[in-house]
Amino acid sequence: MMIWLPVLLPAIAALSTFLLGERRPRARNTLNLIAAAASVGTVAVLVIRAYGGEVAVGAIPMMSDLDLGVHSDLTGLLFSTVATVLWMITLVYAIGYMEHAADQATFFGFFALCIAAANGVALATDPVSLFVFYEILTLTTYPLVVHSGTPEALAAGRKYLLYALTGGTLLLLGNAWLYALAGPTPFTPGGALAGVETHTTALRAIFFLMAAGFGVKAAIMPLHGWLPGAMVAPAPVSSLLHAVAVVKAGVFGIIRLINELYGPALASSLGVAQVLAAFAAASIIVASVIALRQDDLKKRLAYSTVAQLSYITLGVALCSPLAAAGALAHLAHHAFMKITMFFTAGSLAETLHVKKLSEMGGVARRMPVTMGSFAVAAFALAGIPPLAGFASKWLLGSGSVEAGASWALIVYVAAGALAMGYMVPILLAAMRPGDHGAPEGVESDPRMLWPIVIVAAMSIVLGLTAGLPGSPVHWALTAVAPAFGGVTP
């Protein structure tokens, strides 16, 4: 039963939120926070047990031999931990951010449902269960993207839905074909397709169908079209969903696809991983270059996200233990770094009505703590040691060499330089002289300020503790080892 709690608790919070409606906002907020704290607690217990080798499994029969199943393996729990911890922090931020907004019940309700779906994606035992949660995630995100109700938001929402549902259809097609070919294929580290390897053409086609399905949320170019537009959503949505839950569900799907459905060896020998790696590498460079020229802060961050997501895709597609571990660790690290930046963008927009780099003059003097936190995250993202981004970039780079793909190492270090190129101008813009009326040093609402400080501090802590058990790096190294024959790299 406990294994279902990470999915059920947010779902219950969502249900209660919808029932409460706009009445009693204080009770609603408290209830959401309690549900988030309980989810974090549950996941923590599952993690401790999983580290001890105890994997819980839960299954609800759907039809014939297909179950809707969840299990608490280390790979899934890493994603789940990131999603629930950041849900709790984002809730605090969102309560401050949405204070005077309309339709808060809709917002918080769907917000919690998204987390339930993301946890389902994280813990799903097989591709079919993963697909079910993946589609729920698509549908529950839509109301959040169109929350403001403006024509721009509605257009972005339509676009998102078209992309995500088409992607979902491809994923379903892939699943159906795979089922016809191999029957139920629960995720197994190292590959679940023993016995059907000879159907190379079919397996290649299925791989690309699924990769395209996941690729939409993972924003692999050219499937990224929905992401920049979706930035019209309120800041907490951009922060948690477009930096963490939704996009990471895509890359997480790719991690499962390669490491635990096909297995790195098969994905590599079929040649499909290499194709995916090429798309990811191209996405990294192209998105980074586009990010260099964005004046709109959130769009700049969005293109940075496209690039960073492909760090993960490329890492897992290299089919080497170190690169795969780097990919999984980067899934966690990037979440903390990027959420810091989207929180900051939200604070600037909400408190100072600043949305573009060209309007940012004086911001650093006005909100030094906020911008200081942003700077930490920016340098972490660019891979400056000893911050979190460095640890995962180092692993990804080492994995590239291990895989005999020095070109991927060059892509990663070039992307690091480009990341400096699109992050430093934001800091310089904030340091330019400028006037924002209010006295210097007055930050935004404390409920928005503290979450920023905490997630920025995590970029430092996760980097410094990268070598310790329980850190994303150590965790990822342990989690991917079975997919490569059980040897901890």
């Binding site: 257009a155 676009k159 078209l162 992309y163 088409t166 259809t169 491809l170 097609l173 892939g174 086609a205 299925i206 690309f208 169908l209 395209a212 050219p222 499937l223 079209g225 920049p228 537009g229 192209v286 270059v289 586009i290 020229r293 964005q294 004046d295 709109d296 769009k299 170190l322 573009k356 891979g383 400056i384 040691p385 000893p386 640890a391 180092w394 692993l395 780079g397 080492s398 590239s400 060499v401 291990e402 020095s406 190492l409 060059i410 270090v413 070039a414 690091g416 330089a417 400096m420 430093v424 980097g463 410094l464 503790t465 990268a466 070598g467 310790l468 850190s471 790096v473 150590h474 790299p489």
Partner: protein, 516 residues
């Protein structure tokens, strides 16, 4: 292959044969330059300056003591990135441009270094820094690693055609921090040569090619330097020229293991000699401006001659020691190329002498400087000069023994003197023939090629960013930057119908593939 990466918790620092001289040099230079900065910076500017100076100094000193790859990379970045704040301290348009150029090259250099370090760690299986130089030649990626390290060093030391970077950083940075950058920053490049370039074992072509690159830089930077007209820009080009000589030394050790030992000594000798002397020249230029009295000014100018003569390699100076160590290293390589480089070395000294003459001519012109305690400044400078005079002779090592034993032989004295005499002769001609005498106007501006590229780029961007009607929903201004084809494609792609159509077509293609 395994990786010894155990997370970034494993920062290790320690002392070894390489770290000791560099640690001594960096500590002295950052400390004395810091004192000088504190004395000569107006109180109101101090917090802003030291906010960048202190982290840079911590990185700059830590990089010598770092004994694993990650710590080395961390300190390398920690020194280099905050230096941007030192260069742009005056906030003038020129200094901002210099800062932008510096930051760009630094970030590229960091990326190259990171790639080299990752390759080293994975292929050697250890993060321990001191063992790399002996291991590199035997690694599968030896050529790639060496190329990446050389490129990192090229950016750091201002190898042609990037020599302008040093003149840019020296010219716009306040004197104190500029001395730190002059004395320590380029020497991190020398440190990287000893830590990360192979000690012998590479095919002979590597040694020859790198020595030629070094000699080209030594000459080219000297030519560019005499054509500029700011004393510190001249010093910047002189640094690039001198670091070209250090590159020759490092090159000498790439292929031949015996030469590698001598080359190692030569790099250390040059780092100590040039680090101290160049910091003293930068500070001296500023000290001279602070004394208006004729006698005090004359004394200061006379004292300034010491580091200048040292750079030329005059007898009994630190440059004499360094040059001996370098000549021994080149001699050990053998072959036609090294013989040619050996001869070219003496002629490079002519270039250095010309640079020093030009520097003196420009320093003699009074110019404005920050207010501050002239005596305190002179005292700090005096301490540094004492080290310039003594350090390379007193340092306990093998590389200065040859120079000590031949310090008074006639042939070596003549070898050390004639390049200076030739430069003096040419200088006499210039003083009479060229309009403006020895203070002729600049032909090259600080940063040469880099500044031209940066100015061109910003002009281009400014023209491109001129407000034009921007369609709704379009966040970036239209531009004709290098990224424009990409941006244009992306804008077009994001337009609802095109994107949707493409996507549906991709989906149909996949579906057809699936069902077909």
């Amino acid at each position: 292959m395994t990786s010894a990466f155990t997370g970034t918790g494993a920062f290790t620092f320690g002392l070894d044969e390489t770290s000791i001289p560099f640690l001594a040099l960096f500590a002295v230079v950052w400390l004395l330059s810091g004192l000088y900065t504190a004395i000569t910076t107006p109180a109101a500017d101090r917090p802003r300056l030291f906010a960048y100076y202190v982290p840079s100094a911590v990185g700059g000193i830590g990089v010598a003591a770092a004994s694993d790859a990650v710590s080395f990379y961390l300190c390398f970045a920690l020194m280099a990135l905050p230096a941007w704040g030192l260069i742009t301290h005056t906030r003038s348009a020129e200094s901002r441009r210099a800062g932008a150029i510096y930051l760009t090259l630094t970030v590229v250099g960091e990326a190259l270094l990171l790639a080299a370090l990752v390759l080293l760690v994975v292929e050697t299986g250890t993060t321990s820094l001191p063992g790399y130089r002996d291991a590199i030649a035997g690694l599968p990626s030896a050529a790639l690693i060496t190329t990446l390290v050389l490129a990192t060093i090229a950016l750091k030391i201002g190898m042609l055609p990037l020599s302008g970077i040093l003149s840019l950083t020296y010219t716009y940075t306040p004197a104190g921090p500029a001395a730190a950058l002059a004395g320590a920053s380029t020497k991190v490049g020398a440190l990287a040569m000893l830590r990360l370039l192979p000690a012998g074992g590479m095919p002979p072509g590597w040694a020859d090619a790198v020595m030629v690159l070094g000699l080209t830089t030594a000459f080219g930077a000297a030519v560019l330097g005499v054509l500029t007209d700011h004393p510190r820009a001249v010093l910047g080009y002189s640094s690039a020229s001198q670091m070209g000589l250090v590159l020759i030394a490092a090159g000498a050790g790439l292929s031949d293991t015996d030469a590698a030992t001598l080359a190692y000594g030569a790099v250390v000798a040059y780092a100590l000699h040039h680090g101290l002397a160049k910091a003293a020249l930068v500070l001296g230029d500023d000290v001279v401006q602070r004394f208006s009295g004729r006698r005090a000014r004359s004394v200061a100018l006379a004292a300034l001659a010491l580091p200048a003569l040292a750079l030329v390699g005059a007898p009994l100076t630190s440059g004499f020691v360094a040059k001996y160590a370098l000549k021994d290293a080149i001699h050990a390589v053998g072959g036609d190329i090294s013989a040619a480089v050996y001869v070219g070395l003496s002629w490079a000294a002519v270039g250095t002498a010309a640079l020093m003459l030009r520097f003196f001519a420009l320093t003699l012109q009074p110019r404005e400087t920050t207010p501050g305690n002239a005596r305190g400044a002179a005292l700090v400078w005096g301490l540094l000069l004492m080290l310039v005079a003594t350090a390379t002779w007193m340092w306990p090592s093998d590389w200065n023994q040859h120079a000590i034993s031949s310090a008074f032989s006639l042939s070596s004295l003549w070898a050390a003197l004639w390049p200076g005499l030739i430069a003096l002769g040419v200088w006499g001609v210039i003083a009479r023939v060229v309009p403006g005498g020895t203070r002729y106007r600049a032909v090259v501006e600080p940063g040469d090629l880099l500044t031209m590229v940066a100015r061109g780029a910003s002009r281009w961007a400014a023209r491109a960013d001129r407000p034009r009607p921007v369609a709704a929903g379009r966040s970036e201004a239209r531009s004709s930057s290098l990224a424009e084809p990409l941006l244009g494609a992306e804008r077009g792609y994001l337009r609802w119908t095109i994107a949707a159509t493409t996507f549906v077509l991709v989906a149909l293609a996949l579906a057809w593939l699936a069902l077909g």
